[in-house]
Symmetry: C2
Subunit: 512 residues, 2 copies
Amino acid sequence: MKNILGREIPEFIEGYGKVKPFAGAYANIDRISKKEVKINCALPGQGKVLKSIREAILECGLKNGMTISFHHHLRNGDYILNMVLEEVANAGFKDIKVAASSIFPIHAPLVRHIEKGVVTGIYADYISGPVAEAISIGLMKNPVIMHTHGGRPRAIEAGDLHIDVAFIGAPTCDTYGNINGVEGKAACGALGYAVPDAMYADRVVAITDNLVDYPACPIEISQEYVDFIVKVDSIGDPKGIVSGTTKITKDPVGLIIAKTAAKVIDASGLLKEGFSFQTGAGGTSLAVAAYVRDMMKKKSIKGSFAAGGTTGYIVEMLEEGLFRSLFDVQCFDLKAIESYRKNETHMGMSASMYGNPHNKGAVVNLLDVMILGATEIDKNFNVNVTTGSSGVIMGGSGGHSDTAAGAKLSIVVTQLVKGRLPIVVDDVTTITTPGESIDVVVTERGVAVNPIREDLIEKLNAAGIETMTIEALKSIAEEMTGVPEKIQTEDKIVAVVEYRDGTVIDVVRKVK
Amino acid sequence: MKNILGREIPEFIEGYGKVKPFAGAYANIDRISKKEVKINCALPGQGKVLKSIREAILECGLKNGMTISFHHHLRNGDYILNMVLEEVANAGFKDIKVAASSIFPIHAPLVRHIEKGVVTGIYADYISGPVAEAISIGLMKNPVIMHTHGGRPRAIEAGDLHIDVAFIGAPTCDTYGNINGVEGKAACGALGYAVPDAMYADRVVAITDNLVDYPACPIEISQEYVDFIVKVDSIGDPKGIVSGTTKITKDPVGLIIAKTAAKVIDASGLLKEGFSFQTGAGGTSLAVAAYVRDMMKKKSIKGSFAAGGTTGYIVEMLEEGLFRSLFDVQCFDLKAIESYRKNETHMGMSASMYGNPHNKGAVVNLLDVMILGATEIDKNFNVNVTTGSSGVIMGGSGGHSDTAAGAKLSIVVTQLVKGRLPIVVDDVTTITTPGESIDVVVTERGVAVNPIREDLIEKLNAAGIETMTIEALKSIAEEMTGVPEKIQTEDKIVAVVEYRDGTVIDVVRKVK
């Protein structure tokens, strides 16, 4: 069958199941259920601290075929996933499903566990590095399932993704399971992605290298949700957890794009008292923030909030009084962690509060402007941030689809050509985010507005910003690069790309 | 049938259902389920602010027979329950069940709603004033169900108490439903009792007199849980919400009792580094805190935490460095509210985190010492804080049973005789808290230790504290007052007293 975006998807995918086809960004948002949760109650006097990860695995009653989960706040410095899987493998378990909110190059040992049949299933919002490459060439029998950052908590809460045992990397944990990410040698700040795992898994194990006396303070994840605690020497490498500081691009092309995006924001009429904003940690995105910062100062605008994974740059805007508060699901750099620890207006949010379409209103719903990246964008404004130019998985939605769906103005900022390939194409290799939720594409060669946003085209034109059709942008790109060859794939589906509501927006097939 | 404490309870109670008899304080703590929750999802752009309580009632789809809930942080200054029931009555609804975490004298208009059939069921942890009196004389057809502060979230989470619409009195609320109790003219501090209602009700309405721009900061209850918001002129009378300051007793008898209780704590060996403590807001309880404070200073002890409803007195101990942190479910006075707002080591906790026996470990489980009151205590150490000397309901467990079950040392402090009636009796009128969870009774005439705590008797005697049997205490009391006459009751059951695990520990019968 074809879904509403014209993507050919089987009705049933082996190793995945029956497909619910994507039916629009705002379909399926009605009345839903959050699943029943099973709890092993603790008696007074009962302790939670165990001696080893092995002991925790056994106490949790792990069995072949079960699903274990991980969160990615330790990013490319994370030791937790590797440590746990090593023990799982050593204990002789097979057929384990890994639900990791993201997978990074550091998780390369996972490839070996897949090869040996220890791990036979993967759920993730973002996958890069050797694991992504191994998946793309068909190493796994069953397709991996790719969520968005808001779709993952949705799936967990709905029971679509049932977690048997959640392992939480805890920069600080007390002896009864209260966790925070702001203290300890592996401090990573906000722990928003771990919250749904803690709340909905059958069993929850906190793994920490900073076991403190009861009670930890502050508490980001409460003792109510933690069954067991294991102390290890190190949960991660601080160098991989955070960059020292995130930086604005110095590339002149990137700066042109950013400046134009800022003009689009200004022209949209959204840049006024109470403005809300999110941008990624990339250099061009941060450059947009820099121009927005200048405009806010000039106009004496105080914004309501900035959201996201947070960087020091956004923290500076908070400190300057340009926003009243920040909502943070993960901290990208040291300055963000420090701010999250000290400033009460720098507030944490769970992944569900951040982007889950199936709750009573996520933070993304109140975003005025979202700055997004793209690997490809097609003539229907569909965006690919899942696969690279060779068809190999190199990312995933993360919060891309969630913020695009929520924000009043979603702007993709990108160079028109990267690595001699056009970014604007007829059809993207993989649809990550549907075009209906993308409003504008800003490149160094021109600005294209989604035709469904006639109001915006008028506003931009009134402000003297030239716009062109996306087809025109595509032509300019193709003039520079020629029409790229179609990526050759085999039939085998290596990844199912779920939209945030759990429908299938696309699949990734094995690369040749 | 008789339950394990010898209380005669029908196997089936009309208007309540099948009785699960109380089987011990630590029975039924094993593997449980938290129920499925139904959610009405919000689309981006969808607003939540409604014009009136009436509109909210209708939007929530209230129907005859449904259960609506309230929390009691506004205490005897609460306008919410009365305002909502007025609208419910005006709209012509009948047969509504009211699940209020506590009911106070200010809720007298509820009597009229009961008389008119608007309200036909009540669930509460504590009831005092005209509503309690009306219930006691048999005004309601069905018995009210009395929970503990930890048993209420247990019942809500398990689905034993299903809430159709929760009304949350919000001292501050933003336009998307983020709530805190620390700002606004009706600031009451921590909102812990409202958390389970917000998380598990079908529909949640925030009623506020301080509607602020998005986002509120701090956030105690998140937008994820709130369907609608209504602004009203006033949610409560600050004079009834908090006392200006809570005070230590000046009564010499109270001081003697408190001093003895402090000696018991000292002798128990628990008063050491990491000590944890809870006491109520009563004058004698606070006097115990004062003696404990002195001892901690003398011995240079730093405690781990104090918990509870919090008073300025406990805040002072935090500020002096005698505790590392406070866990707060409700603030009793202005100083506590101020501290909760400003001090990050003064942490909030939900009712479930506080006392729910059916989670992975409540805060009460880690209490070293709990200071409790009693209206009556019997020779098996069972405590009544539910009914008064005439058999009329005048309170309820609140956190009494929860903290008694959790704490390593539960001390009842009471005068031996009150209002010419002995406090130590053969059988208490109503069992609120089972004797197995009470360790010591301290009166001005002597100290009785529960014989199951042989270890404690030895320690007290070694420290030179004379102990006597509870029977001896009873004899002393009866020498002063004579043996009191048994309260005469009719067969009709007006209240079912549930222990924290949902079993029935006792019933209250209609007074003659």
